[in-house]
Symmetry: C2
Subunit: 268 residues, 2 copies
C-alpha cells in the first residue's frame, strides 16, 4: 500500500516532457498543514519529484526553495519544472508550484547518486538525546496553532526544550519519523528539515508564526531506516529575520542532511 | 571614476525589459580569475545587477547560485533575468549567465531594503584577529594556481592559518577589501564571501581546486565602510563534498552576511 507521503505528493504529467521541460498536476491535502496552510517542506516534495524525472540522478543533493505565497490544502496545483543541466554526476533543475495561477514556491535543486556512501573525514556528531519514548510529542501549543501535520509525522522534542521560554538557547532538537512507518529517504529530508517548531520558540519565548523566506537543504547521504534525529539552532536574529541552521542524523548516527533558512519573525 | 568592480560587472540591456523579464550583455574580464577561470562570486555580480533592476528593492538578502560550468574571462556574456514576485518588502528573481550558448550559472535571489538596520537580539561575534598589517597576504601558493583576483581584492589571512597543513581546524579567516578602495556594499558581499582560499586547505592540508556546486549568501545588513572580516569553516566533509560555512562582519563588528556552499573536493 502506498504511504501517505507518496500518495499525497503524487504527481501526474499533463503532457509528455519535451526539451527538458514538463508540467504536472498534483493535489495538495491539508493533512500536512501548520495552522491553515501546508507545511513548506510538504510543498517542495511534489516539485522535487517532478524535477527528478527530468535528470538521470535520483537523490536531491542541494535544494533551495523560495516561499512566495502560502499554499492551499485540499486543492489542486500545477508543477512546472525544467532541466538546467545534466552531467555525469550532477543534474540541476528548476521548478515551481502554482495554484490559482500564482507561483507559491520557486525551487532550484541539484541531484546526484548517493547510493554508495563515501569516506567521512569531517562530520558533526549528534547531540545527546533521550530516546523517543522519553521525549515530548510536539503539540500546537507552542505556536498557538493547530498542527494537522502531526497526523502525518511523529515529532518528539527534547524534554528540556519543549516549552516556550524555558530552554537555555535558541535550540530545538528531537526525533522525527513518518507516522505510517514509511521509510525515510532522501526525498523526504527537505520535509523532515522543515517539520520542527522554530528554534526561537525556546529561549526567546517567541510564539506565533515564522514564515520561511528561503530554505536550503543539503542532503549528505541516504538515511538508514528508523527515527531521524534533528537539531536546529538560531544564532543570528537581526531586523526580525532569523537564520536557522539544522543538522539531521539517521538512526546509525550518520549526518544525513544540513539545512539553513531565513525566516521572518512576526512578533505582533 | 568608476571602480574596477563596477566597470567589470557592468551590464547593458539588449532590449527593454518587458513582463518582468530582460536580457543584458556584459563583458567578463580575467582580472577576477582563480587560476584560469573567473571567480564564482564575480560571475554572480552582473546577474545580481540585472535581477535588481526588475524589482523595487535594492539589497540582495538571500542569493543562491548553482555553478553549472566554468565561466570564461576576457569574453562577452549574456545575462537573462526574470522577476518571480514583487511584494511590499521582498522582490524575488531568477537569473543566469550564458556564454557561447551555454548556461554558466543559475541564480535565484530575494531582494529587500536594508537601509534601516533593525534590532539584533542574537548575533555571532567576530573572532579575534590581528589587524590587516599583521596578517599574511593571500598568495596562490596554497592552491598551486595563479590568482589574478588578488589584483582586484586585498585578502589578508590570519597568520596562524595561512599555510596549508599547519592550522588547527578547517578554518580560514582574515580581512578583505577592494584594492581600489571602492566602498563595500551589499552587492559586493557575494563576491567577498567567495574570495578566500577553501577552509579545508588549513588543517587538512588539501591543495588544488574545490569547485563550488552551489553557494548561498544571506546578507544581513549594509556594511559600514572599511575592511571586512570573514571566517570560513568546514565541519562536514563527506564523499568528497564539503559544506563550508562563512560569516562576514564589517569594520564596526556588525554581522553583515552568512554564507554556505557545497563544493567538490578534487584530490587527485
Amino acid at each position: 500500500m502506498a504511504s501517505q507521503f507518496d500518495t499525497e505528493t503524487h504527481i501526474e504529467p499533463t503532457a509528455d516532457p519535451a526539451d527538458g521541460r514538463g508540467e504536472w498536476s498534483t493535489h495538495l491535502t491539508s493533512s500536512w498543514n501548520i495552522g491553515t496552510n501546508p507545511n513548506g517542506g510538504y510543498l517542495v516534495s511534489p516539485v522535487l519529484r517532478a524535477m527528478r524525472t527530468l535528470g538521470a540522478h535520483p537523490d536531491p543533493m542541494t535544494v533551495t526553495t523560495h516561499y512566495l505565497r502560502p499554499g492551499t490544502g485540499d486543492a489542486s496545483a500545477t508543477v512546472e519544472a525544467e532541466l538546467v543541466r545534466t552531467g555525469r554526476t550532477v543534474s540541476t533543475a528548476r521548478g515551481r508550484l502554482i495554484q490559482d495561477g500564482k507561483g507559491r514556491i520557486e525551487t532550484i535543486a541539484a541531484f546526484t547518486d548517493l547510493s554508495e556512501p563515501g569516506d567521512v573525514p569531517l562530520t558533526i556528531e549528534p547531540p545527546d538525546m533521550p530516546p523517543p519514548g522519553q521525549c515530548r510529542e510536539r503539540s500546537g501549543l507552542e505556536q498557538g496553532v493547530d498542527l494537522p501535520i502531526l497526523n502525518r509525522v511523529d515529532v518528539r522534542l527534547h524534554p528540556d526544550q519543549a516549552t516556550a521560554g524555558q530552554a537555555e538557547a535558541a535550540v530545538v532538537s528531537g526525533w522525527i519519523r513518518f507516522l505510517d512507518d514509511r521509510p525515510v529517504d532522501t526525498l523526504a529530508l527537505p520535509l523532515f528539515a522543515d517539520a520542527f517548531p522554530p528554534s526561537v520558540f525556546g529561549s526567546l519565548g517567541y510564539v506565533g508564526w515564522v514564515p520561511t523566506i528561503e530554505l536550503t537543504v543539503h542532503v549528505r547521504r541516504r538515511p538508514e531506516p528508523g527515527w531521524v534525529l534533528a537539531r536546529f539552532e538560531t544564532t543570528d536574529l537581526s531586523d526580525n529575520r532569523i537564520i536557522e541552521d539544522g543538522v539531521l542524523w539517521d538512526s546509525a548516527g550518520n549526518l544525513i542532511a544540513q539545512s539553513r533558512q531565513v525566516g521572518l519573525l512576526l512578533t505582533d
